[in-house]
């Protein structure tokens, strides 16, 4: 019989159910967005599918009342945990005025919501890494005990800003958690054409910081290492580089055709490790996710996604002229 691994981590059955629910909600919103895209209702989707466990496991290990997150475009699981709603995400997908991320100015996946300490992001990869360091530096100056958490792909870990940012945090022993969501591909480029080290986390050695690689399909393992990193950070022991290993289950984005560079078989094989399936099985084996709970959960999520979609679809766009606003502070 399956042993209970979450209790040891201080997670209650409610906690792990909530982790699963958040993962599932992310998956369902993402799947809906693909349907909307294929139906010609939204121009673009970039997916979290295959990375929900890493994202939600990590976000649960943070303090959503005070920590700052600088997610990258796939991190729907992170922002949901930090307070962004399905409706917020759908408003962004439909580029509507009410989108809290950007008022419809940015593509979906460009997260930002100050009230939830989700820091505004852009398209050029890895630019958020030094930002996470700067916020941690500010917190240290102001005597705060929050940590900052930022994510990026393994391909993006080859950008200069990764190096400069992590090095700066290491020198100043700042409470930053750098999490590389290694999904084996950067669009079409496989990891062996991106880097030659065994583990992305090996790079931590070159900065004199802690580095760890963990199974990105296991939310509990990710929770454990991120929790440890956050604790270290709060204790003033500096940054941590974490690598989560999983697989991108969808094409890079709705504009991509992944058959050009990887086989269906490879994708099917990866789907066997899909945490939505494996973590669900774990919860079922431990009788935490009973059939009744599951039905209730699926219905609730379906309703949330439906309502969010309907609301966003009918919500208004920003006026054309409003594009002129907020280049600079008004009367500032």
């Amino acid at each position: 019989m399956t042993e209970n691994r979450h209790a040891k981590l201080g997670l209650s059955n409610r906690d792990v159910l909530e982790i699963y629910e958040t993962m599932l909600l992310a998956r369902k919103i993402d799947e809906r967005m693909w349907l909307l895209n294929r139906a010609g209702k939204i121009p673009f989707v970039v997916s979290c599918q295959g990375q929900e466990a890493a994202q939600v496991g990590a976000a649960f290990a943070l303090d959503r009342e005070k920590d700052f997150v600088l997610p990258y475009y796939r991190d729907m699981g992170v922002v949901l945990r930090f307070g962004m709603t399905a409706q917020d995400l759908m408003l962004s997908a439909f580029a509507k005025a009410e989108d809290p991320n950007s008022g419809g100015r940015q593509m979906p996946g460009h997260f930002g919501q100050k009230k939830n300490r989700i820091v505004t992001g852009s398209s050029p990869v890895t630019t958020q890494v030094p930002h996470a360091v700067g916020i941690a530096l500010a917190g240290k100056m102001q005597g705060k005990d929050f940590v900052t958490f930022t994510t990026f792909g393994e391909g993006s870990s080859n950008q200069g800003d990764f190096h400069e940012g992590v090095n700066f945090a290491a020198v100043h022993k700042l409470p930053v958690i750098f999490m590389c969501e290694n999904n084996k591909y950067a669009i079409s480029v496989p990891i062996h054409k991106q880097l030659a080290c065994k583990k992305v986390s090996d790079r931590a050695i070159g900065y004199g910081i802690q580095g760890v690689t963990v199974d990105g399909n296991d939310p509990l393992s990710v929770y454990e290492v991120v929790k440890a990193a956050a604790d270290r950070g709060r204790r003033g022991e500096g940054p941590t580089l974490i690598e989560t290993i999983s697989y991108r289950l969808t094409p890079h984005s709705s504009d991509d055709d992944d058959l050009a560079y990887r086989s269906r078989a490879e994708v099917e094989e990866a789907k066997k490790q899909d945490a939505i399936v494996t973590f669900k099985a774990y919860l079922q084996k431990l009788n935490i996710l009973t059939t009744s709970i599951e039905t209730e959960l699926n219905e609730r999520i379906a309703q949330i996604v439906n309502e969010a979609t309907e609301y966003a679809e009918t919500a208004p766009y920003a006026d054309a002229e409003s594009a002129l606003r907020h280049v600079y502070g008004e009367g500032g």
Binding site: M107, P124, G155, Y317
Partner: protein, 327 residues
């Protein structure tokens, strides 16, 4: 002559130059098996193999910097920046290095390299997949910046860029990729970098522009022609260094000048074009030099309302051209 699309002209020019000279090679993100996210390099990986069509790590400064090294050795790299917006991490290598290799070594070394990047909006690309970035580089001696408008110009100018002994930034309008088609001769030809091209002869007003806007200008010119207004359209083709003589001649021809760009207005390529005209043919002008450009906001937003508001289009050009004609 066969009719091909703008992007087919890009692919064909690279393919022919790679066949012609084994020192020519391609490097960039997803340029290999994927054939580029826009398919500009499709077929090249299959034809020339992964040693000459290199999928690089995701690092623009290295893409350009490694290209510079290879170029100094004597190769002719063609670096693809996936979107012009993502050229920013490579600015130091382009501006401090590529542009100055020849000058700083007193002609001992040189850097024959092409940096290609798709730019421009109207494709729901939002703030970071729609930008025009040419103005930032149009003040850097040592660089040449080419921004073609037609498949014919694309092929002739890209071949010229690849054969050029100095670095060339080659910006391709991503919306033109499949929208714009045109006749392209089968035989090998090049077009001179640094020369503007008259795309339409006219007497009443002069429109000076480049890239996709050239087509908007030509469409608007047809409309105006119905009302007996004849527009002269000059396509800059090379936006740095500018073809002064052609600009002066075009401005003098009608005395009424409209400058058009998709970029933001302040500090764009048009500023220098206006300055040249104001310096060399002020007294030939019958109207103030007009500029039609994007508003001075970072870039075009994602929402269709705001994107449309930002983008220039044939109607906006037609209106501006009529106003000028009536001045």
């Amino acid at each position: 002559m066969p009719v091909i699309s703008y992007i087919e002209a890009v692919t064909l020019a690279i393919k022919e130059e790679m066949e012609r000279d084994d020192k020519v090679f391609v490097l960039g993100e997803d340029v290999g098996a994927r054939g580029g996210v826009f398919r500009a390099t499709s077929g090249l990986y299959e034809q020339f193999g992964e040693t000459r069509v290199i999928d690089t790590p995701l690092a623009e400064s290295a893409i350009v910097g490694v290209g510079i090294g290879a170029a100094m050795y004597g190769m002719r790299p063609i670096a693809e920046i996936q979107f012009a917006d993502f050229i920013m991490p490579a600015v130091n290598q382009i501006v401090s290095e590529a542009a100055r290799i020849r000058y700083r070594s007193n002609n001992d070394w040189n850097c024959p390299m092409v940096i290609r990047a798709p730019y421009g909006g109207g494709i729901h690309g939002a703030l970071y997949h729609s930008q025009s970035v040419e103005a930032m580089f149009a003040c850097i001696p040592g660089l040449k910046i080419v921004m073609p408008s037609t498949p014919y110009d694309v092929k002739g100018l890209l071949k010229a860029a690849i054969r050029d002994n100095d670095p060339v930034l080659f910006f391709e309008h991503k919306r033109a990729y499949r929208l714009i088609k045109g006749e392209v001769p089968l035989e090998d030809y090049t077009l001179p970098i640094g020369k503007a091209d008259i795309k339409r002869n006219g007497q009443d007003i002069t429109v000076i522009t480049y890239g996709l806007a050239v087509h908007f200008a030509l469409q608007a010119a047809e409309k105006l022609a119905e009302d007996g207004i004849s527009a002269h359209v000059l396509d800059l083709r090379t936006v740095y260094p500018l073809d002064k003589a052609a600009i002066i001649e075009a401005a003098k021809k009608t005395g009424k000048v409209l400058l058009v760009t998709e970029d933001n207005k302040e500090g764009s390529i048009l500023s220098e074009v206006a300055a040249i005209i104001a310096e060399y043919c002020l007294f030939d002008l019958d109207a103030p030099i007009q500029r039609l450009a994007g508003p001075d906001i970072p870039a075009m937003p994602y929402a269709p309302t705001m994107e449309k508001f930002f983008m220039i289009n044939p109607d906006k050009l037609e209106r501006a051209m009529r106003d000028l004609a009536e001045f």
